[in-house]
């Protein structure tokens, strides 16, 4: 297993499968039993270092760590190091001095977890909990885990990811992980919301949602922030949802058993209608539950065993 989880692309097929299988066991070990807590990470300290607000991701990591009996410290440093005093480096040195074994970091700057992991400021394992517009590997893992529970092995499965790919760390991580797992991914977005060079990514690209939905095994809707509108990425919210929103008519274009996913938080009425979000094929709430299992698996695999620096 890798020492830091920075990018979904760092996971080999074996690693990714190990995480998903372990998450399966975590679900099995905690679902419907008297004591949901496992003693595995007793005495280990996990720091949730959140430079950006995200109650759901932080809570999910916190619960995962606590279920494994780790000591959890929430270190909330709202605003970047630029705007508020302490630098990333000083924060890292503080955490190191406190004896953190694992640091779960969320940051508005792409690559901030790389700096933490590679700069020599800390020895702790670093888990990327979302960095800027770069990646969010545990989200991709929980998405894959959720889809795998319903669809079986993902090799050959057709998965459509729709929305603001340009600014989406969820999309980047999903494309990399799903490619590793052998799924066929199609990105659908207006051309303005696709990054340059997307044609080199291990996936297909389409501007036509109706077309892409036929034959899909799952569709993942990405959150579209309304401020993109003022930056002229698209003319209006109404036009966006008409062309790229998932409504009942579009859902009916998919095979009846196809899944609907969304990383949350949703803009109901924008990228997804309430009807679809609450439909029987929507696994959006389940994604949240599964997030805890996947994060338990990641924390277990990264923190339970020998730390490479202790070995040396």
């Amino acid at each position: 297993m890798i020492r830091h989880l920075l990018s979904a692309g760092d996971l080999s097929l074996d690693d990714a499968t190990l995480v998903l299988d372990t998450a399966d066991e975590m679900a099995r070990l905690t679902e419907g039993r008297a004591v949901k807590k496992l003693p595995t990470l007793r005495g280990r300290t996990v720091v949730n270092l959140f430079f950006e607000d995200s109650t759901r991701t932080r809570t999910s990591f916190e619960l995962a760590a606590k279920r494994l009996s780790a000591d959890v410290v929430n270190f909330s440093a709202k605003g970047s190091s630029l705007s508020k005093g302490e630098s990333l480096k000083d924060t890292a040195l503080t955490l190191e001095a406190m004896g953190a074994d694992g640091v779960v970091v969320r940051h508005s700057a792409s690559g901030a977890p790389y700096r933490l992991a590679t700069s020599g400021w800390i020895n702790a394992c670093v888990v990327n909990a979302g960095d800027g517009t770069h990646e969010h590997p545990t989200q991709a893992l929980l998405d894959a885990f959720t889809m795998r529970r319903h669809l079986g092995e993902l090799a050959g499965k057709r998965i459509v990811i729709v929305g603001d790919v340009l600014h989406s760390r969820v999309a980047r991580s999903n494309v990399l992980l799903l490619a590793t797992l052998g799924a066929k991914v199609t990105l659908v977005a207006p051309p303005t919301l696709l990054p340059k060079g997307v044609d080199h990514w291990p996936c297909g690209v389409s501007y036509d949602l109706d077309d892409a939905l036929a034959g899909a095994d799952a569709v993942m809707m990405l959150r579209v922030q309304s401020e993109r509108m003022s930056a002229a990425f698209f003319p209006s919210a109404r036009e966006y949802s008409r062309r790229y929103g998932l409504d009942s008519r579009r859902q009916s274009l998919m095979p009846p058993e196809a899944l609907v996913l969304h990383p949350g938080p949703m803009n109901r009425g924008m990228e997804i209608t309430a009807e679809v979000a609450d439909s029987a094929r929507s696994v959006i709430v389940e994604q949240v539950t599964n997030g805890v299992y996947v994060r338990m698996a990641v924390l277990y695999l990264m923190l339970a065993g020998t730390n490479t620096t202790e070995e040396a």
Binding site: K89, S108, A109, G111, H134, R172, K196, G197
Partner: protein, 440 residues
């Protein structure tokens, strides 16, 4: 001052000759020179170049003396073989008045390691709103001829036109930092496949090329010359090439780092590789080398941009743009241009000394630079040993800052000695070999 006799130096890479320096000028040039009482230097195997002239240096003083001072920056310049540097205007306060440019010029004189030629800001406070007092700066003791808002682009077309026109009165030149601001809002690296993958905001080539194209057309329209700073893209090269074919009055520079490094280095998010304009692709690098070889790009300028440790010891987005360049420039040029056969040493002398001095209009006047290595000319010289290989170690830099992108790289060539009007401003080791009188 004791005369200095440099023996067996290959002037501009030619056959070995002796160079006699006396009273700050080249007093003799030829085989088997002798001079009683002269200090001799055995320069066998060394290349003698005219003192290098940098058209693009950030000395940071006044305002950011924690990053660099005129003293330390010019010391780094001397170590790199430079005898003159043009100090960019983005200091604090901005060099937009005669007072500030004279202060910088005077600090350079006091330091004495290299002549400092201040660059004046084009607009007041680099704000891009109204012209600074360009004439006053030109007429000051600093004798400013190069004006630039470097770091920021003079993006207002009307303002740029006026600036180009206005400096004709005193033979000035506008050095444009070509960056269309709207296309580069929040830009962090070259826009391409990698920026998409890394989730870093892209700095597209077109944002440079659009301004380069506009400005060569504006310069042609008003009959003024324009200089393009740190050209970084293949597209810009093509525009400048076309402009020159049409005889338009444009000159251009390329930095050493854009001749060597590519955007792939950004993949680890190490801010040492964060620079503006950003590192581009291997394709761009190849086009830039070719353009420098064929003269489409006139000069190499360092864009030496010192930053304190904390400005780079942080996340990528928060890090400052810029790299050190003075001490490594010649090595990078040797590596990328000479050792590859694209340029000979005479070409190096042109691109790093003659041409930049001409563009900056410091090739004439009381203390000229970029003069031929010839009898009667000021003894501004750099002696280079092209046979060495050095692993770059930031801790040995003369600069106050350590933000070199070349740390750990092996680069060829060493500047063995630099002479400013006959006075050694840098010696890599004790090279003077005693007093001449007899035979060598």
């Amino acid at each position: 001052m004791t005369p200095i006799l440099i023996q067996n130096a290959r002037v501009l890479g030619g056959d070995p000759q002796d160079i006699l320096i006396d009273d700050g000028v080249i007093a003799g040039l030829g085989a088997g020179l002798g001079k009683d009482g002269a200090t001799t230097i055995d320069a066998a195997g060394l290349i003698a170049l005219p003192g290098l002239v940098d058209l693009h240096t950030h000395l940071r003083e006044p305002g950011r003396e924690d990053a660099e001072t005129v003293e330390t920056g010019t010391l780094a310049a001397a170590r790199g073989g430079f005898t003159a540097v043009h100090a960019m205007a983005n200091t604090d306060p901005v060099a937009d008045t005669a007072g500030v440019v004279e202060q910088v010029w005077r600090l350079g004189r006091e330091a004495g390691h290299a002549d400092v030629r201040p660059v004046g800001a084009v607009t007041v406070g680099l704000k891009g709103e109204r012209l600074a007092e360009l004439g006053a700066m030109a007429e000051s003791a600093a004798g400013v001829r190069v004006f630039s808002d470097d770091g920021l682009c003079v993006h207002d077309a009307q303002l740029m036109r006026r600036a180009l026109e206005y400096v004709k009165a005193f033979d000035g030149v506008i050095a444009q930092h070509a960056q269309e601001p709207r296309l580069t809002e929040g830009a962090q690296m070259n826009e391409g496949e990698l920026s998409g993958r890394l989730g870093l905001r892209g700095w597209p080539s077109v944002a440079e090329e659009a301004i380069v194209a506009r400005d060569v057309l504006l310069a042609a329209h008003v009959g003024s010359r324009v200089h393009i700073c740190h050209l970084s893209t293949k597209g810009s090269v093509e525009i400048v090439r076309l402009a020159k074919e049409r005889g338009l009055p444009v000159t251009a520079e390329v930095t050493p780092h854009h001749l060597l490094l590519t955007d792939e280095l950004v993949a680890g998010y190490d801010p040492r590789y964060k620079v503006n304009p950003p590192l581009r692709t291997a394709d761009d690098v190849a086009a830039l080398r070719e353009a420098l070889a064929d003269g489409t790009i006139d000069i190499v300028a360092t864009d030496h941009a010192p930053h304190p440790v904390e400005a780079k010891d942080c996340e990528w987005d928060a890090a400052a743009f810029g790299m050190l360049g003075l001490e490594t420039a010649l090595s990078v040029v040797q590596h990328t241009m000479v050792d590859t056969g694209l340029l000979d040493w005479a070409g190096v002398a042109d691109r790093l000394s003659f041409a930049p001095a001409r563009i900056g209009r410091c090739d004439t006047g009381g203390v000229p630079h970029g003069r031929p290595v010839a009898v009667g000319e000021p003894a501004n010289l750099a002696l280079v040993d092209p046979s060495t290989t050095t692993t770059i170690d930031p801790s040995t830099s003369a600069s106050l800052s350590r933000n070199t992108p070349y740390e750990g790289m092996k680069l060829p060539g060493t500047v063995v000695a630099t002479f400013l009007r006959g006075r050694p401003t840098h010696q890599a080791h004790q090279i003077t070999g005693g007093t001449a009188g007899g035979n060598t």
